[in-house]
């Protein structure tokens, strides 16, 4: 039966894929991750407006790469190596030591910058994939009740990107009707203000509408319990962040990642359980969590595990040297893991038309 997958499954899948991308600067692995994200998006996105946002994220990613390389050429610290060409360099005052403007540009520096830019771009593509695949509103709906106080902010923020992309389109049309160039660099100028203005207006309307429709109604909760919930929630978020940092940054002590994440998860679960009684919300037709959701989550986690195993066994293959430049290769476990992440493209139900 066609149905849309639980939004949390898509987000976990995409975040795991993104976490995998953060562990490697190998361009082949990164491109593979990007390709997997693209494949799943084109085969499983619906036709809602946010489903088209993947393309925008990819475009932003390409700009990130370009800007990262350009900055390297103009400003960055010089890496020794084969000089490609030299820009006229400008002497900066001594208090700006460490920053240089212009000067020789080496292949090594360009390649390093490209790898770093590509990593960010692929991470963006993963977030974009989650954005295209999962309805942000449905995701918010399955947030536990205790988090609802931050919900207005989150809903407004979530609606920002799709609405902005719709309004970019409308502003471009309006510009064409006004006889202004609507594409290219010239078209980009003067696009930002009307789009942001429109998005802000809409955000206000949306917040008013949520308020008028009973969002965030109080339910009677004893003061003490509320305080305990909030403390546990704060600690849980902190522990989760520390854990995530540990897992993403290969150089941190290995004892940090998993235990902190587990600790955070327990605290959060406790807080959510305690706070569950706080809201008198009910749910209309909740999204089911069935086998395809488990498969999707497992596929995402497989990508991360694959990359992590490769990092443990053969760290050099995940961060191919740039000085001197070493041709990147595809490490076995990482490749296998990332390829497994493509399974949801076939193993999940199609979205409802």
């Amino acid at each position: 039966m066609p149905r849309s997958l639980h939004p949390a499954a898509w987000w976990i899948w995409a975040l795991a894929l993104g976490a995998a991308a953060l562990r490697t600067k190998n361009p082949l692995v990164l491109l593979l991750i990007g390709a997997v994200a693209w494949l799943v998006v084109v085969s499983r996105r619906g036709n809602a407006p946010w489903a088209r946002s993947f393309g925008s994220f990819v475009r932003i990613g390409i700009w990130v790469v370009v800007i990262r390389v350009a900055l390297q050429v103009l400003f960055a610290v010089r890496l020794p190596g084969h000089e490609l060409f030299a820009l006229p360099s400008i002497e900066l005052p001594s208090w700006m030591a460490g920053v240089s403007l212009g000067g020789p540009v080496t292949t090594e520096a360009l390649v390093t910058a490209f790898y770093e830019g590509l990593q960010l771009a692929v991470l963006l593509a993963c977030v974009g994939a989650a954005n295209s695949l999962a309805s942000p509103y449905r995701l918010l709906r399955c947030l536990p009740t205790v988090l609802y106080e931050a919900g207005v902010v989150v809903t407004v923020a979530l609606s920002f990107a799709p609405q902005a992309s719709t309004s970019v389109h409308r502003v471009q049309e309006a510009r064409r009707l006004r006889g202004r160039p609507h594409t290219g660099v010239q078209g980009l100028r003067g696009l930002a203000v009307p789009v942001l203005e429109g998005a802000l207006d809409r955000s206000l309307f949306l917040a008013a509408s949520m308020d008028a429709r009973g969002y965030g109604r109080k339910a009677l909760v004893p003061e003490g319990r509320r305080r305990v919930t909030n403390v546990a929630l704060g600690l849980g978020v902190m522990a989760t962040l520390i854990g995530a940092y540990g897992l993403l940054d290969g150089s941190s002590p290995s004892g940090l990642g998993l235990p902190a994440l587990a600790c955070g998860a327990v605290l959060l679960a406790g807080a959510l359980g305690l706070g569950g009684a706080r809201s008198s919300r009910s749910r209309y037709r909740p999204d089911p969590w069935l086998l395809p959701e488990w498969i999707t989550v497992a596929a995402g986690v497989a990508a991360y595990v694959g990359v992590a195993v490769s990092a443990r066994l053969d760290a050099a293959s995940l961060n191919p040297g740039t000085s001197p430049i070493v041709a990147p290769s595809l490490p076995v476990y990482a490749t296998a893991g990332v390829l497994l992440a493509a399974v949801p493209a076939f193993a999940t139900p199609r979205p409802a038309p």
Binding site: G46, N47, A48, P49, W50, S135, P136, Y137, R138, R141, T155, T166, R170, V171, E173, A174, R175, R176, L177, R178, G179, R180, P181, H182, G190, V193, P194, D201, R202, F205, L206, A207, A208, S209, M210, D211, A212, R213, G214, Y215, G216, R217, K218, S279, S280, R281, S282, R283, Y284, R285, A352
Partner: protein, 542 residues
């Protein structure tokens, strides 16, 4: 049910109060109509009912507002959600979820309604507002009329005691508007819900209203509909007809008027002598015939994904004619305009404007041939001041400095050039947008829903502008639901249904015999073909 006790409200940093000493009592189970010009304080009054004013907007509220015994001073909007259902002006901006069904259930979820009850109420509302075929659709894919119905539905599912609506039918086609109003009256009659609605198109709502609250400069006076119409400066056509012929009491609905019209029909000839839409300056001898073809479509077809928006549309638009494109919400009217304006590439067939293919033209060349004012004219304006807007337009289209300013001045005289385009009234904004796109003197002018959100004063001015445009040889194509506007200005009407042309002919022929698109005067005097009060008055005078 709703009680305003000496309410005075001032927005933060506003020099004048938006509401002055409002004293109102709206009993339960009545339908109240709130009327007044744009900026008179209508929306503020409505938002004060559920506490959005002042809880959300800020500002200072003196006095007391009470709904069903709950004071808004102590109960913020979210606590009143189960009591007051609110439908804003722009349904799109108020949607919180993304699918019709979820949106309908949203308020109930917040109120903690039991799942089984939610299922049942959603089904009830789907039937009540005829939303059943749309239940799984993404909100973004709906037409504006469908969106409006979903917005009303999502307020209804929570079964509120009071329903507040701001311009609920302004985006709807006449058929859908009738449906919504029928649903509202059913709510009032059968379920005893109190309905408070603001509306510019009096002709649609007046007959259903129990009381009318007239808002003028923040002051509110209450009268029965008939009393309110006696001294009102703007009235729906059926009332205007009653005044012109001297009926008393004034008829408020077509049915009332038909009962009185027998005598009138015998005094009138069978039909008007002069087609008035071609006599813009009151000189019936000068009837400019439509001139050369300025734009045409040949077997035009358009598709969005798998949805066919237009099929085999062949039209010629001639200089000097005002062509109204009518049809249901989602029938393809806006798509047709977008193709004529060169915003989209046709899937099939072709579009020609002035011998050129519009979507291939450079923006700068395009604006000299065709102008389109979208349903939200503010989209066209993005400078900080009206003056900067005009100067920018001169630059863009390589016009002599001051050309645009003069064009705007001709349409909306006396605007403050330093004002921000967002700060002027709805009607003035439309005027500025029109002026800006008309400055390069395009022979073809397209308007999408020009009367949406306009009060009667602004609409009267729009009618004048359209007549001037057609008299000066422009071809005007407007997509509209406003049958009274069509009766006033259109010479020719094209009716679209599901993307196909189902009628194309002189306005009088097309609209007079349609049960949906006929203006009030035509309905009153049917089967004789009269369109406007002015025609009847002229015939009586001669």
């Amino acid at each position: 049910m709703i009680r305003f006790d000496h309410v005075t409200f001032t927005y933060a940093e506003a020099p004048e109060p938006a509401l002055r000493d409002v004293d109102l009592h709206i009993p339960g189970g009545e339908l109240w109509l709130v009327i007044g010009e744009t900026g008179s304080g209508k929306s503020t009054l409505l938002q004060a009912i559920n506490g959005l004013v002042p809880h959300f907007t800020g500002g200072e509220l003196l006095g007391r507002v009470e709904v069903d015994g709950l004071a808004t001073s102590t109960h913020p909007p979210r606590e009143l959600a189960g009591t007051v259902g609110m439908v804003g002006q722009d349904p799109d901006a108020g949607f919180v979820t993304d699918v019709v069904e979820d949106e309908l259930a949203y308020t109930m979820e917040n109120l903690g309604v039991a799942p089984a009850v939610m299922r049942r109420r959603v089904e009830d509302v789907l039937d009540l507002l005829n939303l059943h075929p749309l239940r799984t659709r993404a909100l973004a894919s709906l037409s504006s009329g469908q969106k409006q119905r979903v917005a009303i539905g999502s307020a209804l599912t929570a079964s509120p005691r009071v329903l507040v609506l701001d311009e609920p039918t302004s985006a709807l086609d006449p058929g859908a508007a009738e449906e919504v109003l029928a649903a509202l009256t059913r709510l009032v009659h059968d379920l005893g819900i109190t309905v408070v609605t603001a509306e510019h198109r009096l002709e649609r709502v007046l007959q259903y209203a129990d009381r009318v609250a007239v808002v003028e400069g923040g002051r509110v006076s209450v009268a029965s509909p008939a009393e309110a119409m006696v001294g009102a400066s703007v009235v729906p056509p059926v009332v205007a007809l009653g005044r012109a012929v001297g009926w008393s009491p004034l008829p408020l609905s077509v049915r009332d008027a038909r009962r009185l019209a027998d005598g009138l029909r015998s005094r009138l000839p069978v039909g008007p002598v002069v087609p008035p839409h071609h006599a813009p300056d009151g000189d019936p001898d000068v009837v400019p015939l439509p001139g050369a073809v300025v734009g045409s479509t040949t077997r035009l077809g358009a598709r969005y994904g798998s949805v066919v928006a237009l099929r085999d549309v062949s039209l010629d638009v001639r200089a000097g004619e005002v062509l109204a494109v009518m049809g249901r919400n989602g029938a393809g009217k806006s798509t047709l305009l977008a193709h004529l304006a060169g915003l989209r590439e046709p899937t099939d067939g072709k579009v020609t404007i002035d011998g050129q293919v519009p979507h291939r033209l450079k923006a700068r060349d395009l604006v000299r041939r065709v102008a389109l004012v979208p349903a939200d004219p503010g989209m066209l304006l993005y400078a900080e001041t009206i003056d900067a807007e005009c100067r920018g337009a001169d630059r863009d289209s390589a016009l002599d400095p001051g050309t645009t300013r003069a064009a705007v001045e001709r349409i909306v005289p006396g605007l403050d050039p330093a004002a921000h385009p967002r700060d002027v009234s709805e009607g003035q904004r439309l005027g500025v947008a029109l002026g800006v796109v008309l400055a390069p003197a395009p022979p073809l002018v397209l308007l999408d829903e020009p009367t949406r959100g306009l009060d009667y004063v602004a609409k009267a001015r729009l009618v004048e502008i359209l007549r001037e445009l057609s008299a000066s040889g422009h071809a005007v194509v407007m997509a509209t639901h406003d049958v009274e506007l069509v009766a006033e200005v259109a010479g020719r009407v094209v009716v679209l249904a599901d993307g196909e042309v189902v009628a194309d002919g002189p306005a009088r022929e097309v609209v007079c015999h349609s049960p949906i698109f006929a203006p009030q005067v035509a309905k009153v005097l049917a089967p004789d073909e009269w369109l406007t009060v002015a025609e009847v008055e002229a015939a009586l005078a001669s």
